[in-house]
Symmetry: C2
Subunit: 876 residues, 2 copies
Amino acid sequence: MANKMIYLFDEGKAEWKDILGGKGANLAEMTRIGLPVPPGFTITTDACNEYYMNGEVVSEELKSQIRDALKKLEKKTGKMLGDTQRPLLISVRSGAAYSMPGMMDTILNLGMNDDTLAGLAALTGDERLAYDCYRRFIQMYANVVMGIDWYHFETILEKRMKDQDVKEENQLHTSDWKVIVSQYKELIVKLTKQHFPSNPIEQLEEAIKAVFRSWNNQRAKIYRKIHNIPHDLGTAVNIQMMVFGNRGEDSGTGVAFSRNPSTGEREIFGEFLLDAQGEDVVAGIRTPQSISILGEKMPHAFREFCDMSHLLETHYRDMQDIEFTIERGTLYLLQTRNGKRTAQAAVKIAVDLVQEGIISKEEALLRIQPDQLNKMLHRSIDQNLKKNVIGKGLPASPGAASGKIIFDADRAEQFSSLGEKVLLIRPETTPEDIHGILASQGIITSRGGMTSHAAVVARGLGKACICGCEEMKIDLKKKTMELKGITFNEGDFLSMDGGSGEIMMGEVKLKEPELSQEFLLLLQWADGVRKMGVRANADTPKDAVKARELGAEGIGLCRTEHMFLDAERVPIVREMILADTREDRLVALQRLLPYQEDDFMEIFKAMEGLPVTIRLLDPPLHEFLPDLEDLLVEVTKLQGAPDCDKRERYEKEQLLRKVRRLKEHNPMLGLRGCRLGILYPEIYDMQIEAIMGAVKKLEKMGRAIYPEIMIPLVGHDTELEVIKKRVLHIAAEYEVQIPVGTMIEVPRAALTADQIAKEANFFSFGTNDLTQTTLGFSRDDAETKFMHGYLEQKIIQENPFVTLDVDGVGKLIKMAVALGKSSNPQLKIGICGEHGGDKKSILFCSGAEIDYLSCSPYRIPLARLAAAQAQLEEPK
Amino acid sequence: MANKMIYLFDEGKAEWKDILGGKGANLAEMTRIGLPVPPGFTITTDACNEYYMNGEVVSEELKSQIRDALKKLEKKTGKMLGDTQRPLLISVRSGAAYSMPGMMDTILNLGMNDDTLAGLAALTGDERLAYDCYRRFIQMYANVVMGIDWYHFETILEKRMKDQDVKEENQLHTSDWKVIVSQYKELIVKLTKQHFPSNPIEQLEEAIKAVFRSWNNQRAKIYRKIHNIPHDLGTAVNIQMMVFGNRGEDSGTGVAFSRNPSTGEREIFGEFLLDAQGEDVVAGIRTPQSISILGEKMPHAFREFCDMSHLLETHYRDMQDIEFTIERGTLYLLQTRNGKRTAQAAVKIAVDLVQEGIISKEEALLRIQPDQLNKMLHRSIDQNLKKNVIGKGLPASPGAASGKIIFDADRAEQFSSLGEKVLLIRPETTPEDIHGILASQGIITSRGGMTSHAAVVARGLGKACICGCEEMKIDLKKKTMELKGITFNEGDFLSMDGGSGEIMMGEVKLKEPELSQEFLLLLQWADGVRKMGVRANADTPKDAVKARELGAEGIGLCRTEHMFLDAERVPIVREMILADTREDRLVALQRLLPYQEDDFMEIFKAMEGLPVTIRLLDPPLHEFLPDLEDLLVEVTKLQGAPDCDKRERYEKEQLLRKVRRLKEHNPMLGLRGCRLGILYPEIYDMQIEAIMGAVKKLEKMGRAIYPEIMIPLVGHDTELEVIKKRVLHIAAEYEVQIPVGTMIEVPRAALTADQIAKEANFFSFGTNDLTQTTLGFSRDDAETKFMHGYLEQKIIQENPFVTLDVDGVGKLIKMAVALGKSSNPQLKIGICGEHGGDKKSILFCSGAEIDYLSCSPYRIPLARLAAAQAQLEEPK
């Protein structure tokens, strides 16, 4: 028997997403549980794959199954495709296993032709409706199947509206629509040298092929790439009886969420358009009204919708995004799916669902993408500031942003790549604008609503977004925008608050986020589950306080070099570096000592009761000196000026000489880290003394301090041995007990971890440097010079400085853990590169027996959640 | 029973070097086989170690064993220590298991005091002899045991000689010696506030302690460090009856080799001093005469010596270095050991011994230090040049050298570290001068002979050396030297030929070495034994020819970037790099193509019949551009000059901008290697086409060409996959079959070698870069900034760029070999870093299943021999 490639809605169920696609499976599920879904059937993803395997040909078998299914549908509806008396109109929609909103094609009102037009008019008693359906069908079919640009049709429509002097489409008369339809058909003949197809079976087969093809259109491919969706899944096709939201004042169409997708509040949230078809909402062509209008105009239908929404949410155990149409007061559900939501809403909904008894805590933890937590830490506009609000739109995606305004996605990307902060301003966005949205701090559109493309994408990406700010007048050619009578040019600064919808003049100071109760509760649950510790990379008392507030269980990496960069200290640091003798260096170091001691005191206080791992000086010394090129220019100028200050010239020349002597070919692999500590032991001695002094003072004050000293860039056990001896010697003088450990950040350290572990109380993988050395990628050079090309050509799948390179660096880490623990079973192992705040990398760490993560303060919530997820996902 | 810590000479044998030291074991062996060795005994190295373990105290047990042994010695000689009638005089000499010539202390004539002085005079009938022994003893004992500087005594002696108006010591009368001895004793009282010890047992115990202590003096420690001798072996002490070479015209002392240590010729070669004690020869205080003088003066003794020399050589199966003394016509042997020799002599002697049936070929192969072969490739003075010879000394160590003359070891080291070639000029050298000798191209001394310190050390290090050039007048204070009436200052250029002893004016052109028959024969034997292949790193046809001449079996690394640096091509290369568009770049590349094709043609021809591995472009492109700093200075100057050429300024500014854009933070880890080939495929395409073009042309000429293409800096299998596809695509167009392989030079390549091997026909370990990335050592920065300190502080034992870091890099190599062969059993594996020419590294490679080595042409003989040794030393 041939493969079954079609399922009627009442044959499928929610679990069959793989073959029915998400939309098809949910339509089947809703049908199964008795909800009012217009009847239809789904062509499977297998059929789509078969189509591609056959060289983009629809098999006879599939055609025959389509005709069978159509017959059953006709029987069920009592209408017939192409019938002049009771014509069946259908929609043909894509629907893949993973939601790809707006990426693939849809055709509505299929089955219209000159003959069925009259039938539909007679059947509905509404000639205008019939024409409206016909012109929509022609336009969509011509666009999707025949590839004719949308704007050709819009031009005809707009001209007619202008000629007739009307502002809204629904003010046009039937006679106008007749003219428009015939002009549409002429246009098609003119552009394609063929007539618009009138045979509904031909229409259907072509429409199905077009949907299949849309699986591989450019924007769908890009979307899949961004979201890591495999390219060989294929799409299903849903064929469904049309219902008409465009049948007058008792009809309409809407999209609504079972909870607020922006805040997570438990309330129906959505939009509704009276007398319209669904496309009008989604495409953002008309700006819809709040769903509350439905409650006012059709209270019965609204109540019914609320009940169904609740039923669906309980059934699917998640917040739902529901498309519906009301035809003459009757409610139909056209689609339901788990709704996209802001990070804030995601957390609130997950926590609320636990508290409502619908899901478990573990499920709640697994539902939140750790990256989303970062978005909740987005800044907002400081409420205490006087804001110069110049416009307001729909609050489509929360978060505040400031930047230069740019009117086109390509230029937004260019400006952003130059390091500029950018706000993208568009009448509306389309999937072709994704790169511009990615490059921007925020997006503002003059058209479209909360479910328009811009809004959906921005929420997904955690970008601030304001939609439908209709008072904003954009001139794309001139690259200007007018608001409140003021003209803004490309590059002018504006600010926005995606949470309130407000647009403000100039740059505005942004405020740090506050954390919701749900957020804190979720993280508490995560802490109960995870086994890996989470510490912070924090170099200042301020960082330490913030880290602790966000749940850090100590500091895993305190970089002492940042303390050297304080304006007050830089001159002393330079004196120290440029000292001609050890004695002079000691004098400068003695002056730095009290500063360092103060730094450590404050950090220890902020982390009282928790471990603080201090890394001794790491960067090459020339980082603290003036730039060689600047000096060279200065000296050349002084040498060329006959009347220059001779003394100044001499001093600059001396400085240049010294800076040049310290210059290195590859500073990343040069005199830094413990190499400094070995060649200039007095520098580390000063730091160690400052630590001990701080500890001693705090201990005398009765504070519980847990310092640890970490040695950077160790590659040989002898390095650690020598420096550890110094540490313990000084610690003994202060009568302080202190664990000493090492960074593992060059491959040799990992390869000889058994030798090094004998000298170490702990390891901390410095995965940034370990990635640089293992791959031979200088981060600065790679990211500006070749990383982009490598990602584009798929030489590498991900930026290895963001997501840990498991095959290379990961292999070294696993070796080092095994070797280290083999010679020192007490060894504690952490990771303190930026990977400690990346979800995928954290999952790897969990499998690699890492004891704790350390990451920047704002990544701590993410790390806590990801560590919990790693625990939950671990094979039992 | 207590440990036996003393062995009489007739109790020991040659094999007991560990406990008796080399000298003690050989004295015992010579005694055992009946040669005329003055009787004595050896205190073991165990006793020395016990001395150190006891906190530098001689145990009662050892003292008691010393007294017992002394009694036996007194019985054997019929003399007694301290006896006024028949006083026994003894020597106390150090002797470790490894020869450390001149590094430790010796005391002669021990047992002298005012009482035995008379006895010795009576016994020998030679009062002058007795005084000579006495003053020598006082001077040596005071120096070694009491720490009084030698020059105090020399001053007294010289003053007396001047007062008495004599030129030679032996012209002084007994009365003079009496005065001198009493002045010596007064000096000691004055300097140490104590009397010179007269009790011979006290003298003996103190002397033994002094020899023990000398194991740890500074120069001995440095010597052990240089020669990798463990520091915990300790020294033995040899106590031996004195015989007197200073008993007049029928007495004397000498040092001779059983073969010529400079050339290897089979002839007695050495020096003899009439009427002298051994120290006079070794210390270079008097310049000795050729051994042939002995034949003239004492033909019987000379014949006897020749016979014994031959006997010893056959017994020890190697060329011997023999110390002897003739007392009143009777020959005594005082020491024998395997003689140090030049590289050339080592090879000739080893090959001759095989041909004389004394040793096997395998033994001969194992006897040559591979490094020595390099020395044989030293340059010489071109014989066709007119030489301006201004002086002549003893030809102490062969090889020619040119350089600036420097009169002090510290300054020699300084000049050398600035990149200057240096000749070290000294009256004589001492162990304190080793760093200066190391830093010099050659050494010239005005005093001392072929066995003086300078000569022995220079031969060991393969440095050119001329000794005893007495006509040279050195003024150390003024830093000048006079020869043939010309005064030379520090920094003047001279040249020297250590093989002829000639010193020449100015810089002289040096000639490449020619290879002896023995050298070639030995390498033939090596080729018969070794399993690892030996190829060359060669970038030019000239290199290729030289490499083949030295035995290369192909080219393992042909670096194409060197071809880009030709003066004619650099402008085109720059054009290519600075091109604004791909089209402009292609134009420049098309102009480079014929050059590259020619290069490859010539190299292929030179290596006809053998494989040639061509590495595609590797270095970062900015290496071909003008220096950024130079440009910056130029531009700054132009900008400051109001009347500058505006066009020139603009062009320079443009160039600066582009050079700056290409600048990288860490070029070693930046856009280079295959990353270039991936981002700019047209560059590699040009190179591949040039290779294919050359191959095709030569194949048409009937030549047998075996090219291979090697991709640099691969870290991901995808990189190799993409570029290999290009290579095979172009190769297919030319109908050429070509293996494609990759360098393994970043850790990730080694870690993922199983993935990479699927795409590779061969691997070649680029151990230079692999060392840089694995250790995180930028070679340029490490060697100038911290390597020295690391070696000094023993953080690392050896420079990892010279000798492979087995624990780190070696571990990676072993992993990569195993992983690579696991997924591709046909994989060929080579090594082409500089380690391919280092003996220890080659031994490692042999154990790591490396198929072939590739090294610079002049290292090929070394590699051939080392590969054979690796094979011979491999555990069966």
